[in-house]
């Protein structure tokens, strides 16, 4: 993994993550609603737990892509959380991959992402996401309402401008 010069936000205690959990639950449900076949390709890995360490975020994400009971939860940094695979990279790079704008192999070659644990499960998840038509980030943007939507528009435009230039 490349040495990242940007500072990570300080870790958040578990109690402070409580308000985040319902939001993450809504996000994963929305993604499945917009992309109902997203986890069809996961085969034996639908029950796997993936820990996603997105660079500057003050918490980790736990994804369990079970189509019947999908879970996306925030975890505190610090203790080692048991998981089948761990994917580490910057928020921007992981968003690129999730959206099909970034090439996982190229990010791996350049050491911008790092993977430990069950590599087959990670490759399978990557293949499932790459098979999607449409944008996961657009699904998340689409959840914003009222002032949040208004405030989020500049960030959305900036994301799409940058995404258009990503290889």
């Amino acid at each position: 993994m490349k040495h990242v010069t940007t500072k990570r936000l300080p870790p958040i205690p578990a109690v402070c993550l409580l308000p985040v959990q319902p939001l993450l639950k809504r996000i994963v449900k929305r993604i499945i609603l917009d992309h109902p076949t997203i986890f069809d390709r996961l085969g034996p890995y639908k029950q796997c737990s993936y820990v996603i360490d997105a660079g500057r975020l003050p918490f980790l994400l736990l994804l369990r892509p079970d189509p019947l009971n999908p879970r996306l939860r925030a975890l505190t940094r610090g203790p080692a959380h048991p998981c089948d695979a761990r994917i580490t990279g910057s928020c921007a790079q992981l968003a690129r991959m999730a959206d099909g704008c970034g090439d996982g192999d190229a990010l791996f070659f350049s050491r911008d992402i790092h993977i430990t644990g069950n590599l087959d499960a990670v490759v399978c998840l990557r293949n499932a996401i790459d098979d999607l038509d449409g944008s996961i980030m657009d699904s998340i943007w689409g959840m914003l309402r009222g002032p949040g939507k208004l405030l989020g528009q500049p960030a959305r435009r900036r994301y799409h401008r940058r995404a258009a230039t990503w290889a």
Partner: protein, 318 residues
């Protein structure tokens, strides 16, 4: 992914089923028969062809899997089958004589004698050439065979004798050629040491150690660095992590009669497929119009962020 290639301007797209009948048998990849049906419809609606890869070798007792795949592909209306195994080739030639047959690089046919045999026996219409021939050798070969030729232009450097490589089989007991998986991810492990280096292993074999800021490569034995008694410092014993990129050589390939250009992409992302196919589409159109190709920078998508023209330019590439 097939749609990404079609939308980016590919004239034809390779695909395979979710089993050992093709040489990219990886979890989460490839097509069910229903997906293939809708994808063929999409490709045909956009003027593109679909070529079904049945290019692994059918081992004893498992032949029905390849026959069923061929029957399904014929029913769906794929535009050609790409094969390597003489049994699979004979089966398709006999049961589906109206279908085009292409010879996979997995057949390792690099001589006029070998390619003529496949043409004569099975009616092969196109041969994908191994990446070990120079441009003059391709010109000479083309003059001595009755079929179209296809060459790789981007992706794996691919200098191993394809269809014969048993390194994965040796390391983990899974055959690249019969099970369709080179370095299956289920057998690959990455571990970080205390110095921040990443150690890549295939089965019980350590195949490389990447320093913290060093470019990484695919976890295949042929791209690993090893220490031996004669050379105690780690060195690339087979190949180096580097990608083939022949964009600059498109005019030369066209001049020697290459009929189709192949880009590796069945294991890569939508971003990779869109950028590489789109870049080559523009370059090919420029060459066809008699202009110099616009060379786009694809270095970020290459293995180890290094690229080469390999044996196409010279056999002294290292």
């Amino acid at each position: 992914m097939l749609r990404a290639a079609v939308d980016a301007g590919a004239d034809a797209v390779y695909c395979g089923f979710q089993n050992a009948t093709n040489a990219r048998n990886f979890t989460g990849l490839n097509f069910t028969s229903e997906e293939l049906h809708s994808s063929v419809a999409y490709a045909h609606a956009h003027g593109a062809k679909v070529l079904l890869a049945l290019n692994s070798f059918a081992s004893a007792g498992r032949f029905p899997l390849w026959k069923e795949a061929a029957d399904c592909g014929a029913r769906i209306g794929v535009d050609a089958f790409i094969v390597a195994d003489i049994g699979v080739a004979a089966c398709i030639a006999h049961h589906h004589p109206h279908c085009r047959l292409h010879l996979s690089v997995q057949a390792g046919a690099s001589s006029p004698e070998a390619i003529n045999f496949y043409c004569c026996e099975f009616g092969i219409r196109r041969a994908v050439l191994p990446r070990i021939l120079t441009i003059p050798e391709i010109r000479q070969l083309k003059a001595e065979i009755p079929c179209e030729i296809e060459t790789f232009v981007f992706g794996n450097h691919g200098l191993m004798v394809e269809g014969r490589c048993s390194l994965t089989n040796y390391a983990v007991g899974i055959s690249t050629n019969m099970d369709g998986a080179c370095s299956p991810p289920s057998k690959v492990r990455y571990d970080r040491d205390s110095a921040g280096a990443v150690i890549a292993s295939l089965g019980s074999h350590v195949i490389d150690r990447f320093a913290p800021d060093e470019q990484a490569g695919y976890p295949t034995i042929c791209k690993g660095r090893y220490c031996t008694a004669a050379r105690p410092e780690p060195f690339y014993a087979f190949e180096e992590p580097i990608s083939l990129n022949l964009m600059e050589m498109l005019p030369a390939l066209a001049a020697v009669g290459v009929d189709a250009l192949k880009i590796e992409g069945r294991q890569r992302s939508r971003a990779y497929v869109g950028n590489v196919v789109g870049g080559f589409r523009k370059a090919i159109d420029a060459v066809a119009a008699g202009r110099a190709p616009d060379l786009i920078d694809l270095l970020a998508l290459t293995e180890g962020q290094k690229q080469t023209q390999g044996a196409f330019m010279t056999k002294k590439w290292r």
